[in-house]
């Protein structure tokens, strides 16, 4: 699967490849966004900025990794998962357990928990991949609910910590700024890897399975093997996000880490950005987190005698905005946004 010669060639031509990519509209826009994210922590030193605003960025980056992992599995490979929180939650729990009860260093715990998530991907993917389409979706959903219930069970609380979970975990880093940069680096790495995967031969095989599984099978592709690879790869990044999330929150509990709502967050974020785009997941995650943040910050708005509390009605407003977006950008906001910006850019350059 991995052709070293091609990898070597790619490495040799990397600078020129990078050069030409930066010159493209997408490339320059990506570099511009990354530069903004890079300088962000240095823009202000006030507490509310670093501890509240910057922390929201960190949260958005964790969810971006999580949503991108779901996009690889569902958007690229076509394996619909409604239970992606399985990998997110299991990794969070393993990470929390190793740190709190085995005194493992944070990074060793994250690595181990991510590997465990991959094994879960394998263990769950193997039996579930006999299912297709909506049945696979229901299967993954059922699996996540089983795990949620298992972790909630009082009789298993001695082993799985019950509904209380594990709390008082150390943070990922000593300061929110360092936490931000760690997550920033991991988010970039995740997206670079996932985008390269989606563009590689392996990614093409996954897309062919997504578009025509019978055809792929008939042309000699071992579809089960590739689907399991997709499950394992996806669970790796979901597990990574789960470990980071546990340390971001400082606690794990069944509802907060295995809850169905988390699986739907991943679906929502990836779909908002644009399915099968990978980078759309980042846009969706940032949009999702900051829309909620903005509604809370706006708070109460008085129009004449009418006072509207945007914070109180944030979920209703959120739902309306989502419906509008889905109505006018059914394939996500990334592509239409890029197209509009490209039009503007072309106009500016007089093209």
């Amino acid at each position: 699967m991995l052709n070293l010669k091609i990898v070597k060639e790619k490495m040799n031509e990397f600078p020129s490849y990078l050069k030409s990519w930066v010159k493209t509209f997408t490339g320059s826009l990506t570099i511009f966004c990354l530069l903004i994210l890079f300088v962000m922590p240095f823009l202000s030193a006030n507490q509310s900025f670093t501890h509240v605003f910057l922390r929201q960025f960190s949260l958005a980056m964790i969810f971006a990794i999580f949503a991108a992992s779901w996009d690889l599995l569902t958007g690229i490979s076509g394996q619909i998962s409604f239970g992606h929180a399985i990998f997110f939650g299991i990794s969070g729990y393993i990470c929390a357990y190793l740190i709190k009860y085995q005194s493992f260093p944070i990074w060793i715990s994250i690595i181990i928990s991510t590997v465990v998530a991959v094994f879960f991907g394998l263990a769950i993917g193997f039996p579930l991949l006999r299912l297709k389409g909506p049945y696979l979706a229901l299967g993954t959903l059922a699996m996540s609910l089983i795990l949620l219930k298992l972790f909630l069970m009082g009789s298993l609380a001695d082993w799985l910590f019950g509904s209380e979970g594990i709390s008082a975990l150390p943070g990922l880093a000593a300061t929110p700024v360092i936490e931000y940069f760690i997550l920033f680096i991991f988010m970039i790495l995740t997206f670079v890897i996932l985008i390269q995967i989606s563009k590689s031969k392996f990614g093409t095989i996954l897309k062919s399975i997504r578009d025509d599984e019978v055809g792929s099978d008939a042309s000699g592709i071992n579809t089960t093997k590739y689907k399991i690879y997709a499950f394992m790869l996806s669970s790796f990044f979901a597990g990574l996000a789960g470990g980071f999330y546990a340390l971001y929150i400082g606690a794990v509990n069944p509802t907060g880490n295995f809850g169905t709502v988390l699986s739907f967050f991943a679906i929502l974020m990836a779909s908002l950005g644009g399915l099968a785009t990978i980078s759309g997941a980042a846009l969706g995650a940032f949009f999702f987190i900051f829309l909620e943040y903005a509604l809370i910050e706006i708070g109460v708005v008085e129009i004449g005698n009418l006072a509207i509390d945007f914070g109180l009605y944030k979920f209703a407003i959120f739902a309306v905005i989502l419906i509008v977006i889905i109505r006018f950008a059914e394939h996500g906001i990334l592509k239409p946004l890029l197209e509009r910006l490209k039009d503007l850019w072309d106009l500016l350059l007089g093209r």
Partner: protein
């Protein structure tokens, strides 16, 4: 020419987007003081207008906005702040201060808990609003995560809603970190379980004396959440085969945990299970809408059991209307009612009803007591230093000290407010932290039940009523 015009428009749009975005970001997040909350007299109910931020002692309340528990915490704090401010505020070294209250939505009552929302709420309180004290909390899983924000910043936080034992056990086991954590309401889960058992033990005895020993089976139905775990363990022990009940060994015939997202159909199944288990008494341990469904099915099916336990929503007077009167005969526990638990209970009850138009929930009385407790410590020490000054002063509110010199301590509304100095937990048991057993009776009246001196001394409390059993239950137990 047309191309040039389009180009100019593009430049204008891009410049507008860039400058607008940049300026917006600057004013919202980057400018000195951006994002920080400016405290003013509008945050200080009952205070004179025009006071400056420096004159405000800042309290932050965490809770689920729009839900009864979070709103209760807010309403209790608001009322306490208003009363203190209307009385002229408090003086610290000859400077007058007023009590400011603000709140953030932790969304913790949401069955689909998103823990990061609680963390964000606590961070906004601490870093944006720069609160000096925190009050609130309800859902153990959420509070376990966001209490750390207060502990990290060495801010005193009084929990007024989560019963789980572990919070105050943390204070004992890791005092250096958790010494800022307190619980003013409710009493911990183990003590709640003990008080339910004490009451039921006496009630069953009294009922059996009347109905010839018909009452033998107990069932529990509870939310499968952290806060119920210790309580359920206690009840399982007390009513189980190894409990202290030789006469009624192994009374527990049904044990039903359920997911808080349950539907009315799920609850119907559970009620049928309780009926099939031949339960005579059913103990609900419910904080959310499950109680409403339980009582609706109870009124429809008229099962042969009495409902006695915790049903948080039933504490509010609005529960009668919500259930359309189906809650009649339910006996549920609540921290306060119109009775003289302490000399300030009834005045608080009346003031609360006058301010908010409804009965106070347990989180309301707990928050009211919590704020007054902190203000008492500030007054006594003339300091705002969380540790050691305030913490050590608050630790003097022990059972022994309060019994010896009650006039030296603040009068709580939920019972004499004594705390264990090593765990910062509310002391349980009459006359300190004890619960009232109240029954819904005809015409939307709620009556305090006699506890047969098991939980409280009946003769010491005013407005104690009489138990009324459902007619179908009397028929069943007498035939």
């Amino acid at each position: 020419m047309e191309k040039l015009a389009k180009r100019i428009i593009a430049i204008v749009i891009i410049a507008g987007l860039g400058v607008g975005g940049g300026l917006g970001a600057w004013f919202l997040f980057l400018a000195p003081g951006a994002g920080e909350y400016s405290w003013s007299s509008k945050d200080c109910p009952g205070a004179p207008s025009g006071i400056s931020s420096d004159q405000i002692i800042k309290f932050g309340i965490t809770g689920d906005v729009g839900e009864i528990t979070g709103d209760g915490a807010w309403e209790g704090c608001y009322l306490a702040a208003k009363e203190i401010n209307e009385a002229g505020g408090i003086k610290i070294n000859d400077t007058t201060y007023y009590i400011g209250v603000t709140r953030e939505d932790s969304d913790e009552a949401n069955p689909n808990l998103v823990t990061s929302r609680g963390i964000a709420a606590a961070e906004r309180l601490v870093y944006n609003k720069k609160v000096q004290f925190g009050i609130g909390g309800f859902r153990s899983e959420a509070l376990l995560a966001y209490q750390e924000v207060f502990m990290d910043n060495e801010i005193i936080f009084i929990n007024t809603g989560a019963a789980t034992d572990v919070f105050c056990e943390n204070v004992r086991s890791w005092y250096t970190r958790y010494k800022y954590f307190w619980r003013s309401m409710p009493i911990n889960s183990s003590s709640l379980g003990e008080q339910i058992f004490n009451y039921l033990f006496r009630l069953i005895y009294v009922l059996n004396a009347t109905y010839s020993g018909e009452i033998a089976n107990v069932g529990i139905i509870y939310e499968d959440l952290t806060w119920t775990e210790d309580l359920v363990t206690g009840i399982e022990y007390y009513f189980g085969p190894y409990g202290p009940l030789p006469a009624y060994r192994n009374m527990l015939t049904a044990n039903i945990p359920y997911d808080v997202t349950l539907t009315a159909a799920d609850m119907l199944t559970h009620v049928n299970t309780l009926m099939a288990a031949d339960c005579d008494i059913v103990i609900p341990i419910i904080s959310a809408q499950g109680g409403l469904m339980l009582m609706q099915h109870y009124a429809t099916l008229q099962p042969n059991f009495l409902v006695v336990g915790i049903d948080v929503q039933s504490q509010l007077d609005t529960f009668w209307t919500q259930t359309n009167g189906d809650c009649i005969y339910e006996i549920q526990m609540q921290s306060i009612h119109v009775t003289n638990k302490t000399p300030t209970t009834i005045p608080f009850w009346n003031a609360f009803r006058a301010e908010w138009g409804h009965d106070p929930l347990y989180t309301a009385s707990g928050s009211y007591d919590a704020l007054n407790f902190i203000v008492w410590a500030i007054n006594e020490t003339q300091s705002l230093q969380a540790y050691p000054t305030l913490t050590q002063k608050m630790e003097t509110a022990t059972k022994a000290n309060i019994l010896a010199n009650p006039e030296l301590f603040p009068s709580s509304v939920g019972g004499l407010g004594a705390y264990w100095p090593t765990t910062h937990d509310l002391v349980a048991g009459y006359p300190f932290g004890f619960t009232l057993f109240c029954q819904w009776q005809a015409n939307a009246t709620k009556v305090i039940m006699p506890s047969y001196n098991s939980v409280y001394i009946d003769s010491q409390l005013s407005n104690i009523g009489t138990l009324i059993l459902p007619p179908w239950l009397i028929t069943d137990w007498t035939t």
